[in-house]
């Protein structure tokens, strides 16, 4: 009995701070602990002009703190790599590199992904207002751009996940079109 009480107390003691502290800070700490890895993704782009969403699938991998690779396999092979502040896109035999520092708006957009993946609250709050809902097992983080130049590109970014794993990222564009990126981890490092 005492033993059970003690273990319940212990559980409560462990659980209580977790529940009480599940705020943006806690989520960021969790995300920051993610060691990167490889995941499958499905991306659906809903465009008003098109009757059906445009679907692409592939794999993405992330190596903290700033290397992100997105390999689209269907409908067409295309690789996008983000290394520090250089984003490069390879398609067929064409290769395009953009230095992000020359494109402040694009940088802010990329920072939404990178900031979330690395749990970098300061980077996110530089350009977005953050709000969090849910629990550690099922959370939804909403990013609202604080700068008009960015909101011309994207109205709202919604990231959802469980624990330190991101499951979906949804971008809502100013014209009402949106894209939803679903992520299925393949392995955890």
């Amino acid at each position: 009995m005492i033993k059970r009480l003690a273990s319940a107390l212990l559980l409560a003691m462990l659980a209580l701070p977790a529940i009480a502290a599940f705020d943006v800070g806690q989520l960021m700490d969790d995300l920051a602990r993610h060691k990167g890895g490889t995941a499958k993704f499905v991306e659906k782009k809903y465009i008003s002009l098109l009757d059906k969403p445009v679907v692409s699938t592939g794999e993405m991998s992330f190596t903290p703190p700033d290397q992100l690779e997105k390999r689209t396999l269907t409908p067409r092979v295309e690789t996008m790599r983000l290394d520090k502040d250089i984003i490069s896109i390879e398609r067929d035999k064409q290769k395009l590199s953009i230095r992000l520092s020359s494109q402040p708006e694009a940088l802010a957009f990329i920072d939404s992904i990178r900031g979330t993946l690395t749990g970098n609250r300061a980077a996110l709050e530089k350009n977005y207002l953050l709000s969090l809902a849910g629990t550690t097992d099922k959370w939804v983080l909403t990013l609202l751009p604080s700068d008009q130049k960015i909101s011309a590109l994207v109205l709202r970014i919604t990231v959802s996940g469980n624990k330190n794993q991101i499951r979906t990222i949804e971008y809502l564009q100013a014209d009402g079109d949106r894209s939803v990126l679903s992520i299925e981890p393949l392995e955890l490092r």
Binding site: K45, D51, V54, E78, L96, S101, D177, S179
Partner: protein
Amino acid sequence: MNRAGRAFLLWLLAMLAGAAIVWNSHFTADMSFFLPAHPTAEQQVLVDQLKEGVVSRLLMVAIAGGDEGQRAALSRDLRRRLAKMPEFVSLQNGEVGSQDADREFLFRHRYLLSPAVEPGRFTVAGLHQAIADNIERLASPIGMLLKPLLARDPTGEMVELLSQLNSASQPDSRAGVWASHDGQRAMLLVQTAALGSDTDGQEAAIALIRTQFAASAQEQGIANASLLLSGPGLFAVNARATIKNEVTRLSTISTLAIIAVLFFVYRSLRLLSLGLLPVLSGALAGIVAVSLAYGTVFGITVGFGSALIGEAVDYSIYYFVQSAGNGAAAWKRSFWPTIRLGVLTSTAGFGALLFSGFPGLAQLGLYSLSGVLTAALVTRFVLPQLGDAGQLRDLAPLGEAVQGALRRLHKLRWPVLGLALAAALSLFVQGGHLWNPELSALNPISQADQALDQALRADIGAPDSRYLVVIAAADQEAALQAAEKTASRLAPLVSSGALGSYDSPARFLPSQASQQARRASLPAGDELRSRLQAAQQDSPLAAGKLEAFIEEIEQARQAPGISRATLDGSSLALAVDSLLLHHSQGWSVLLPLHPGEQPIDAATVRQALSGSGALFIDMKGEFNALYNNYLHEAMLLSLAGVLAIVVLLAVTLRSARRLAGVLLPLVLAVLIVIATLHLLGERLHLLHLIGMLLIVAVGSNYALFFDRSKDGPALAPQTLASMLIANLTTAIGFGTLALSQVPVLHAVGVTVGPGAILALLLSAIFIRRETPR
């Protein structure tokens, strides 16, 4: 009027006529000094590009100091100020909106511009495929950027156009304008209206940029901002300033030093001014001859005047010192033949350069030849009319001292021979590494300027224009068609990765034939509508949503074709103008090639173009080939010059032994000078080689005097003194050139200056003394 008066009057008239010609001469300090007089087709392209090419008109401007915002504000303001001026045809600083005109042009004319517009493109199957491909592109990470164009351009012609453009990296951007990689400098790219060969125009444009920048910085109250500039135009302006400055500086140094020597010797203002008469005549005659023969006088040629002064003054020294006490008639009889032979050997040496295909060298040859000849003639025929040495102080003590030294010098024969042997061996071992194989060795641009240029070039990503394809055509249409045909041969190389990309004027100004063919592929409205219905049945993009597209196609069918004037107002006009050239013989098209991940292999490109009449040019390779031609030619000319001197001496001296006696010290002097320069780390190039020839040509004058003494009595002290003084002035004249920053002048100076002294010294050492045979 007496004889003296007549002679002086004649001389004065000739001088005035010469001065009038010089006054009207055209002086230049541009690259043409180095450019071939009789270029091959490939070299002609090189020459045209250097003189008139777009790259020769580009200036890179960097703004440093202040903070990021201040630099950006200065960049914007400077662009705004310069854009109003006719001196500039293009100003780029990466400002937002500065490329709107280009994009707008491409989008408006996309159906005439896109090479994807072919007869099959707008059939049911073609439309289905093109639209499906374009929707697929939306799946790409950059797909959202394409989305706004979907309704008007569902077949993705704009993407086709953009994907063809050189995707060379754009400069970085800070605060909305181009910046260096480290963000510490704002960058602008300026194209001048003045041609690269128009140094005055370039200088004016550069001055404008500087004053406008200063005004802008002051207006905005930014005190610590500074401007950095580089580019071919600045190089030309700086090179000219350097040469101008050096001509004055070097001539002043050598003139003052020589006047000091002469005054020490003569102690008479009259003799001093009379002694400078032949020099002045020679310098003037040199420029007159070059001006009359070539039309244009290079600054470097005039810079060579310092050496000419030192050489030309010798004759009057000989005259005054040697005729003192004996009178002019005796001098003419006993000394003039030796001096005349010396003049002839010098003439042979300089004359060899006349045959050079390197215009700078040919000019130097003509300038020195006519200068030396005139100075000698004036000394011989004018000077004796005007006066003799009169009360010239007795130089015998000096001569006797030299005589004393000569006796001891004699012992140095074997050590000198050993030294020369060592020099020959060390040169032989170095062999092929002795000569610098690059034309850049002659580049008068300072290291600091070159380093700044490289830094700015890296920051702004200015294209290097090493590889070019050039096609000649009779008219513009033929030229554009040829560009399109050549492009179709280059395209496979781009797909295979052998080539990164290429530029073509036909990209923005297609030939009329291509425009008509593309227009003919565009279906009429109703026809297109029904084809879309069929093509889009099971597509997510319903035909009903594509009315905007049908309208755009109809507009393209009606719109007038693209002509050069259509491009006005966009920076594409500039791109076309720089690649499509109209000249007196017709038209030429340039297609610059850019490497991809691997370097360009010339053989692969040549093979792809074989039989097309297009010329592939590697500019750097051409430059080095050009220089190696010069070097090769200079070797032949030097040998020919030395041979001419040897023949001249052989005919006059009529004795193998005497000939050997004259030549041996000269050969040893050349060996020792060259080996010493090499050991001192001097990178030897073409002009050192010419210097070797000049050591023989100039040095033979001294050797001949010693030879002369073998027949008759030993050299009189007075004669020895005259040789010593003449040698000193020659060494001063050539030696001054060694102070020059211009490699061409410096090389001749460091070679001939010490070489002349050595020639005298070694001639003295190897003179056959009255020792028992």
